[in-house]
């Protein structure tokens, strides 16, 4: 019975906490612009959700401390109301509804992941609330004709098609044989579409096309097939678990492929978990700190990374950088609109054309950012594998190292 009492008091304490935090906000209170965001602080996306939140917070602090947002001759400061969406799309949609209709939020920041953004977008669209999101790359978000959705990142189908072009280039311009394995979720399937298009464009052939389950932790079968048919490129996309599993099993099974291209290598901290085994993997990334984009708030990528590390004690993954960029976009749009009218802000957002430390930002009709190419980096390690680094190898304009191709075979490594 004692336990019941403890549980009961815990629940009532929680209820009390929640009820006090639900005070009524409006879009702009005094000198504050209130933004709302449902974010995954618990559940399966919680680590990336926290990166997103840290990115948002970092930008809010920076913009506020550097003069805030000037609208109609008055200076405003950003503030964000967060709710935990538990990594659950239904919950995220409910929270968006609540942010808008109960808390009176009129400007939204996106959640983490394509799935959750998909759940929220219809709600913000219904209320005509502009949403700048930084973590939903699925192409399907940008083909629905949403008018109030803006994404600072490049769509998912552009993640890895660069790798196919690169492989073709290395093959003397001749088509290549592609083996691919993708998780069955919106994001990875979009990455797959990008590969299909790239294959068609270059005349390349897809010889293995596996789909990976959500509970993926063993892809030995796919890799054994890869070993048997010897493709020129192996493409894997299955979030962090896909990247980690692939690297582990490729090393264990001594699978030799000339090129290995993946997504989610940054967040996977591949090289930290696998050391030298992860060497030579190509990773698609929205951003890398060595890129030379600039803005007046964060300076450049290296400065952003240093400041982020100082505040949050870890190297910023691109999820954090793009989230920070979302705030810069909002600030810019408010100042150009010179108004808090949702429609005017929306139009100002649509006309965005700016450079941030994260990259150039210019929105297409569908809301995706078309002015920022994806970068590919290759994991490169020192001789004993104690220190591995991500070096940008493509596109050539941003490259800080030369691509190592083909990957040396396991017998030579």
């Amino acid at each position: 019975m004692k336990i019941n009492k403890i549980i009961l008091s815990f629940i009532s304490a929680l209820a009390l906490l929640l009820s006090t935090s639900v005070t009524s906000f409006a879009k702009v209170v005094g000198d504050k612009i209130i933004l709302g965001s449902a974010i995954s602080l618990t559940g399966k996306y919680s680590s990336n959700g926290v990166h997103t939140q840290n990115g948002y917070n970092m930008a809010v602090d920076r913009i506020n401390s550097m003069g805030g947002v000037k609208v109609g001759g008055k200076t405003y400061k950003f503030e964000i109301i967060y709710y935990d969406d538990e990594s659950n799309p239904k919950r995220a949609a409910q929270l968006a509804e609540r942010l808008i209709s109960q808390d009176g939020v009129e400007f939204m920041l996106g959640p983490y992941s394509s799935g959750l953004t998909k759940a929220i977008a219809p709600v913000t669209e219904k209320y005509g609330v502009p949403m700048v999101e930084a973590n939903g790359a699925s192409r399907s978000l940008f083909t629905k004709g949403y008018k109030y959705l803006f994404a600072v990142l490049a769509p998912a189908n552009l993640y890895l098609d660069v790798a196919i072009d690169l492989a073709v280039e290395k093959n003397g311009g001749k088509p290549v044989k592609i083996a691919q394995a993708f998780e069955q979720d919106a994001f990875s399937q979009d990455v797959r579409l990008g590969i299909l298009e790239a294959a068609e464009r270059t005349g390349s052939k897809i010889i293995i096309d596996d789909k990976l389950p959500k509970e993926l932790n063993d892809m030995a079968a796919t890799l054994a097939k890869v070993k048997a048919v010897k493709p020129d490129v192996l493409v894997v996309s299955g979030h962090t678990k896909g990247a980690l599993t692939a690297i582990r099993q490729i090393a264990e099974m001594k699978v030799d492929v000339p090129m290995l291209a993946m997504t989610h290598c940054d967040a996977a901290k591949l090289s930290k978990q696998h050391g030298k085994n992860s060497e030579y993997a190509l990773c698609a990334s929205q951003w890398h700190k060595t890129l030379s984009y600039k803005d007046k708030f964060f300076g450049n990528g290296m400065k952003y990374a240093a400041d982020f590390e100082k505040e949050f004690k870890y190297d910023p993954p691109y999820q954090a950088a793009e989230s920070s960029a979302a705030l810069l976009v909002f600030k810019d749009a408010f100042e150009r609109a010179n108004s808090f009218d949702k429609k005017k802000v929306r139009d100002a957002l649509a006309a965005t054309n700016m450079q941030t430390f994260y990259g150039n930002i210019k929105f297409a009709e569908g809301g995706q950012n078309v002015d920022k190419p994806m970068v590919l980096f290759q994991v490169m390690c020192n001789a004993d594998g104690s220190k591995c680094e991500n070096k940008v190898v493509a596109p050539t304009k941003w490259a800080s190292a030369k691509l190592i191709h083909p990957i040396p075979s396991w017998s030579e490594r």
Partner: protein, 297 residues
């Protein structure tokens, strides 16, 4: 459909060996489930979550610079007490109740564990590196990660150890007596409450061993427990409760089935085919799932 596997004989061998090694590991988890199912008539939905928790113990040892293989010693110790703790808090209240109640209770424990692990360890996918290397056969055309071989070997040792323990030790005899007839055992002076707690603890300890092995062979993640529950449930259903060689055989069978399904139908149907098989077996057995407590050999 993809029949590459039959065109390349080495792939068939690869799949079979992978399946057998995997199956032995499944069988260990299933053995724990069979044990407490047989003794306490409880289907433990949280089985897979106990496995994952055991995996995290090995993972943390790895982070602290201890070789994760020691996890197979440390993890069961800790997990034993976790198991006894769960028994004292929850399971003892449902042990004599309807099977349905126990499923609900353990389902609740499962959700709680998932969320707690997510809260405590984060949602990142993690793994522990054993650095064991690879055994290559037939000129590198069949590869067996040594970590998988190690896992199978350790699983067999623990399973044999447990069988001997159940046969020879006082507690083992008490557990078997309770499984046969709890009331009679009680009358004859067996403290069934203690026996139940120990049984649940032993089951959790086995999960701990399996978890440690999984952390060095595959990956672990707070939400990855359910497939392990389903697999062990299936193995137990196929083998029956009191049938250890049956558990081992059906474990290996399931492992091989999964690998072949993976090759032929595609990886996306791997877990799906396990579920399908479960349904087929349940239908085949016409739901004649014995609800009486069976004697555990």
């Amino acid at each position: 459909m993809d029949f590459l596997i039959f065109q390349v004989p080495m792939l068939t061998l690869q799949a079979t060996l992978d399946g057998v090694l995997l199956g032995i590991l499944f069988a260990l988890i299933a053995y724990g489930m069979a044990l407490q199912w047989g003794v306490m008539n409880i289907i433990n939905i949280a089985q897979g979550d106990l496995v994952i928790l055991g995996g995290y113990i090995a993972y943390f040892m790895y982070l602290w610079g201890i070789h994760p293989a020691w996890g197979v010693i440390v993890s069961p110790f800790i997990m034993y007490f976790v198991g006894v703790g769960i028994y004292k808090l929850v399971i003892n209240k449902v042990v004599d109740r309807d099977l349905f109640i126990s499923i609900l209770a353990t389902f609740g424990i499962s959700i709680l564990f998932m969320q707690l692990m997510n809260f405590a360890f984060g949602a990142d996918v993690v793994l522990a590196n054993s650095g064991y290397g690879t055994t290559m056969l037939f000129d590198n055309s069949v590869t067996l990660p040594n970590s998988k071989i190690f896992s199978a070997f350790i699983s067999i040792i623990f399973a044999i150890g447990l069988v001997i323990y159940m046969k020879k030790s006082k507690l083992g005899r008490a557990i078997r007596a309770t499984a046969q007839n709890a009331r009679a055992a009680k009358i004859l002076g067996v403290d069934t409450e203690k026996v139940y707690a120990a049984t649940f603890g032993i089951n959790a300890a086995l999960c701990g061993v399996a978890g440690a092995l999984i952390s060095i062979t595959f990956t672990i993640h707070p939400y990855m427990g359910l497939p392990y529950t389903i697999r062990s449930f299936m193995i137990v259903i196929v083998a029956g409760l009191g049938n250890l060689p049956g558990v081992a055989m059906s474990g290996m069978g399931l492992g091989v089935f999964e690998e072949f399904a993976d090759y032929i139908l595609g990886t996306e149907f791997r877990i799906g085919s396990v579920f399908l098989l479960l349904v087929l077996i349940l239908v085949y057995r016409r739901f004649k799932l014995s609800r009486k407590r069976e004697y555990l050999k």
